[in-house]
């Protein structure tokens, strides 16, 4: 700029950059309070072997015997790469996108496809997931079940049902209605079993945490945990059905 010495310009630019850096840091910190971005990295630390084993576990959980999760610090489990029982967000995210694409495919084979349907399917299934999460959190508050499971863990456990929905859709495509219902009921059982085993030791009631002996679960606490797990299974079965039923050819 004419008439202003370069040093002042340089100082002004320097000040501007500093202010920008500070404000972006402050925004990052505020954002971190609501959406734990640094925790997200943990959920995406997966590799191909983990994905394959986890998918196999989801489709056939009946032979798996060891459901415990190794922890590397107080509340932080080992990365999903090294621990097959840990929840992750990669599979649910990919399953969600695959579900939307598969819905478009199935609609296309029935000549019912329009591009708007993709958006409708995506937002509708997102709404279902949010509703499920809200119901589960309210149920956990009402029954005073304390657990170490955070929002992202619950999100990942709710996201696994998309695998069931996709498989049921594909079976419906190949084998018409009967194949769809068979695969849907099978996945309801498999997912229910998976949830039961995975979450049994991660939910604990308040009284069990207060007692002297933390290894004994009181009877009322066990009953509430059990009821909560049943609620989750019913919710996920219902959602899986609702996500795919309207896409099947009549």
């Amino acid at each position: 700029m004419p008439g202003i010495p370069d040093q002042v310009t340089a100082a002004a630019f320097q000040y501007g950059f500093n202010a920008l850096g500070q404000s972006s840091q402050a925004v990052g910190r505020e954002f971190e309070k609501y959406v734990p971005v640094s925790r997200l990295k943990y959920y995406f630390a997966v590799d191909t072997g983990y994905v394959v084993k986890k998918l196999r576990l989801l489709t056939f959980p009946f032979w798996h015997s060891d459901w415990s999760i190794k922890y590397e610090s107080e509340s932080q489990p080992v990365q999903p790469r090294y621990e097959i029982n840990a929840p992750d967000l990669y599979i649910p995210l990919m399953a969600y996108v695959t579900y939307v694409v598969a819905a478009g495919l199935v609609l296309g084979t029935q000549d019912r496809f329009t591009p708007e349907m993709l958006g409708i399917q995506a937002s509708s299934s997102l709404a279902f997931i949010l509703f499920e999460l809200a119901v589960i959190f309210v149920a956990m508050y009402i029954t005073s079940i304390k657990s170490n499971l955070k929002l992202l863990d619950m999100l990942s456990y709710c996201g696994y049902q998309f695998i069931g929905a996709i498989s049921a859709l594909m079976a419906g495509l190949l084998f018409k209605s009967i194949g769809y219902y068979v695969v849907l009921t099978y996945f309801s059982f498999a997912l229910g079993f998976f949830l039961m085993r995975s979450l049994k030791w991660q939910l604990q009631s308040d009284s069990a945490a207060n007692q002297q002996d933390p290894y004994a679960a009181s009877t009322s606490g066990t009953k509430r945990r059990f009821n909560l797990l049943i609620l989750m299974m019913v919710l996920q079965t219902f959602t899986m059905w609702r996500l795919s039923a309207h896409l099947i050819a009549p």
Binding site: S123, S124, L126, A127, Y141, I142, S144, D206, S220, G221
Partner: protein, 81 residues
């Protein structure tokens, strides 16, 4: 029935409005769900006391934001039909 994000928002807005409209003295105390009637310091709060706590906290926290959300929703519905 279209289950989109917008309908979920509307439904939750209606439910929150319904919870906020319950009057403390005229209604809840009569039914036995008043604030002062459940005060256990036992080990584990019962389901009923947790539900009442939830209702009371929703009424306290969401009064003001609900006003703005309702105004926004009314404007949206007027414009978009």
């Amino acid at each position: 029935m279209a289950f989109t994000l917008w309908t979920l928002f509307e439904a939750s807005l209606l439910c929150l409005n319904a919870i906020c409209v319950l009057h403390e003295e005229r209604f809840l105390a009569k039914v036995g769900w008043g604030v002062n009637q459940v005060h256990g310091f036992g080990e584990q709060p019962s389901v009923k006391s947790q539900v009442l706590n939830l209702i009371r906290s929703i009424r306290t926290v969401m009064r003001i934001p609900l006003i703005f959300l309702n105004i926004l929703t009314i404007i949206f519905k007027l414009i978009l039909g």
